[in-house]
Amino acid sequence: MSTDDHETCRKLLEQLSDYLDGELEDTLCAELEAHLAHCPDCRIMVDTTRKLILLYRSQSPAALPADVRDRLYRVLKLS
């Protein structure tokens, strides 16, 4: 891998979150996607980070356990 490529990989790592959140400006976004097209390591980095965020987001937020809710309403005198 050339030094230039390595530098681009470092730059990608710094911009990864902005890219995944759709907040990277168009020119940078195009540069980054051009790099991704021929750098399998960076593509894996992007794909696995995106997947990890989706896995965390897909964990449905737990409802309040019934006993915790009962005790809360008692403490707040709402029951």
Partner: protein, 207 residues
């Protein structure tokens, strides 16, 4: 406010709270208690402490409602109270241990780690990656993040709050939220990639 105790808008709910309407208090708790509890649970990793923070948050909010100026949303205000209560508990814990469990990988201003784990496990379907054991591993990974990164990740990526809301709750700038979130994601990816790559290999073998 309508007769059956539902409050169509935040302003109506706030009017009800300021007027001491019991239905408004109940509504505030119904709308926000699960979120407050879940954030405290992810920040503290302890059910009893999360329940204590939940109760403390609403007791404090009920007391302070007259001083709530309405500049932020009620939910943001409640998150902020819960975050501060959780932070106090984390600091107390830190004082009680000789080394910090929050920072097993060194200070959170470490330079970005370049990952060595470049196995592509991203194409496996969620239901094959996510069993109870994997969820527990993901929770452990969050618990191991430094507090500053954990709070940004929990509020943004798990609770799905905006950068601006998260900044308000944490008392930092939107840019600081972005920086912390970025570092949290990279650390989590690094921490969990071996685990998921191993699962991916196992699933391929048994498939």
């Amino acid at each position: 406010m309508s007769d059956n105790g539902t409050f169509a808008t935040e302003a109506e709910l706030l009017d009800g709270l300021r007027a001491g309407d019991a239905a408004a208090y109940r509504r505030l708790v119904e709308l926000n208690s699960a979120n407050v509890y879940n954030v405290a649970l992810k920040l503290l990793g302890d059910e009893q402490e999360a329940e204590d923070v939940l109760q403390e948050t609403f007791l404090n909010a009920f007391e302070a409602i007259d001083r709530f100026e309405g500049r932020s949303q009620l939910s943001t205000w409640l998150y902020r109270i819960a975050y501060n209560a959780s932070l106090m508990r984390l600091r107390k814990r830190k004082q009680m241990t000789t080394f910090s469990l929050d920072q097993p990988h060194g200070p959170d201003d470490d330079p970005l780690l370049e990952s060595q784990h470049l196995v592509d496990w991203s194409t496996l379907p969620d239901d094959r990656l996510l069993n109870a054991e994997a969820r527990a591993e993901m929770d452990r990974a969050i618990a191991e993040l430094p507090e500053t990164l954990r709070s940004a990740f929990v509020l943004r990526d798990i609770q799905g709050l905006s950068g601006a809301e998260t900044a308000e709750i944490l008392g930092i700038t939107v840019q600081a939220v972005k920086n912390r979130l970025h570092r949290a994601r990279l650390k989590l990816r690094d921490r969990l990639s071996d685990y998921f790559a191993e699962r991916a290999r196992g699933l391929h073998v048994t498939a």
